[in-house]
Symmetry: none
Subunit: 226 residues, 4 copies
DNA sequence: CTCTAAGCGAGACGGTACGTCCCGTCTTCCT
DNA sequence: AGGAAGACGGGACGTACCGTCTCGCTTAGAG
């Protein structure tokens, strides 16, 4: 996919790539310093050594600029193969948490999400730039686990499949985000292990064929010892 | 400590309780209409039929006003006894989700949380007003389940106990919030059921005595059919 | 004229004379400190150790309060008989200037006059409280000079008489005020003497019967030496 | 000193001269309509068809704006040569009074002066913008009269000279201002003539060599008839 | 010698204007 | 054409006073 864009006009002086990078850096730095609410275009521009005009030539408003700057941070999320489902989950939990604990991400993610609650375009923007990117990791991990025989293969209905992936994604991302940003407690190895244990057992049940799942409630905690 | 509650000696004209209520209502209504970002003190005041100064006499700024207005919404969260752990979990998930889906909560919660990422006082405010209030529900549900024999009694170490409650809280609240606000998908009965199933199995494992928890990873999905 | 007021009601607690005095003092002190523009009722009240209500119970607004406080200062103006018209003029000039140089008067007079330029009621108030009181001194001095034979007796027309008194008053008060407040130079003995000399010669001409007055322009300065 | 006046290197969008003029006009109009006390920046801005910020970009506060607007009015003061000292004095008196009677000047001058009583910078501002400009007229008139032989040439001491000019200035300006603003009576031809007569005789005496001036007090009013 | 109408301190109230900050747009000149 | 500089129209901010309005307490004179 080299360049489907139909020749984007090449007249006049080209945009400075240097400016671009400086702006991204300045935006992230400013987010750390003052947060979304007090972040001003003027300050970003000044810090980047650039005129305000230059910002507006690239992004239509504050929101877009910040989302753009934040989204890039999510690119580094990866899912190294640790050989087991448990290992993979713990890995992603810890690496996701590590990212969220960096102040620029911390401050930015929630700010951007909050802004999105009454801005559908921004919400779509976030979905593309952040959510889908992360969801891909869940899929990848699941496939590996299935290959290893740790999880049953895909259900018949692809719709049901997607629902399951979405659920797992919301549980993992939700728990990590909530602990980091709302409870404001660190996601350390201990927490990651406990969470993984919880998830792992749930996963097995959730992935099992329908009609069996609700067994948990009756079985009680004596279940395992039988 | 000479006087236990010495009648705070109110002098001068007392604050109007009417105004207080009108402001809270106006704030929530305004949040629905325009969202956090465009909510203005002037508009809230006008809508409440009150002078802007009256707002500032009670709350030092927009943030505090909104947190206050939003926090009250969390008071209505309850945990009706549905007779089983599964029922209780589904109940709280759905009622929490229902609350989050109401536009005023939707817009406000994240906004307020986002604001808190660089405002420790606000963060403490949130913890008191919202987080602790919710955590209480988790405790309550767990006690009921223990009484019913659905979950094992408290672990020996109270520290470990607290860790577990915190974990469960982050998982429930996180998943619901994430699905509602980030994934922007509805929390319907179907999702609540699937989530509950997942959580239920995880819960049993997580609540079990240490040293057994990690069994899940090896056992695989064939576990149940053995 | 002992009390034409038809018994001004004597029920209830009478107004505190102490408060009255404290308010007047506080007002004048505040005028010195911050000037009219920044003088606030709250500050005057606080400084007088009195509630704002107490101020408004006595004067309907800031303007009236200040005029009242300032007018009292003019009461002390007197015209001691120095035995000659020249002496009397120098005396009044210096004592008037001395009053104007006191910071509370300095700041207040112009402020009040300025305020009066678009407030006819206040203007009338000033005329009664300040202007007429001063004009009386001019009349008194003139009568003494006439008695001494330094000035001709009143003209036939009383209207013309009044015009003359007004003119003299405007010249004296105007010159002193202008030097003090606009030119912002001190009215010392030297200036007072020079001004008196100027006025004295003018006075003789102005007081002379009509039809002769314009002689000055032709006569030139050689006039006296002839 | 490499560059004597290096072309101040104007960068960025220049200030709109149109806006400048509109603001001055609006300020003067507003002064007439509502007076100093009720003049608001918002109203001036609206009337000028300009944003409030544009006002504050040019003047730091209401006071400076108004002084600036008013000072310009004094530019039109001139001293047309009427051929005689008497004529010149009457001319300047009447044209000065005419200016003061215009409502915008009326309201503004005193307000600005009042404000200056506790603001040394403003006072200096006024001196430069208004007082010095007027004093120049006195000098000019005196020189003409000296050339015509109506007044004696400058005294030996230049210091004494300056004192005399200042005195005359305070008398003329003071009398006109006082009559207009404090006594609140019109300066008509009749008053101007009477005042001029008074001043003219005083002038001759005051301009005469020292040691003779005080003669007036003894001579009495019979002086002229001898 | 009580009763009671007014005075009083305190401070909340509805308002108006302030002067500031930032937004996103627009000129102007320079590269 | 891009970019730096900065003025512009606009909107909201949070503050400061205004003059009014409860409150509950105090106080002196009328009954």
């Amino acid at each position: 996919m080299p360049s489907p864009a139909p020749t984007p006009r090449r007249v006049g002086r080209p945009r400075s790539a240097q400016a671009d990078a400086a702006i991204m850096d300045a935006t992230r730095a400013a987010l750390v310093e003052v947060g979304w609410g007090k972040l001003t275009m003027g300050y970003v521009a000044a810090r980047a050594g650039v005129a305000k005009t230059t910002l507006y030539r690239r992004w239509p408003n504050k929101g877009e600029l910040v989302v753009h700057a934040v989204a890039a941070l999510f690119d580094e999320l990866e899912l190294p193969d640790r050989g087991s489902l448990r290992g993979d989950i713990e890995g992603v939990v810890i690496s996701f948490a590590r990212m969220l604990q960096r102040p620029e991400t911390n401050a930015s993610l929630m700010a951007v999400v909050a802004e999105s609650t009454h801005d559908p375009l921004l919400r779509e923007h976030i979905r593309e730039a952040i959510v889908d990117r992360q969801k891909h990791l869940v899929l990848q991990g699941r496939e590996r686990a299935q290959a290893r025989g740790e999880l049953p293969p895909d259900a018949a209905s692809s719709e049901e499949n997607e629902r399951l992936v979405d659920l797992i994604f919301d549980v993992i991302a939700g728990a990590v985000v909530h602990r980091t940003l709302v409870s404001a407690e660190p996601v350390d190895e201990q927490w990651a292990e406990a969470f993984t244990t919880l998830l792992l057992h749930g996963l097995v049940a959730a992935s099992a064929p329908r009609g069996r799942g609700e067994g948990g409630s009756e079985g009680g905690y004596q279940d395992g010892s039988a």
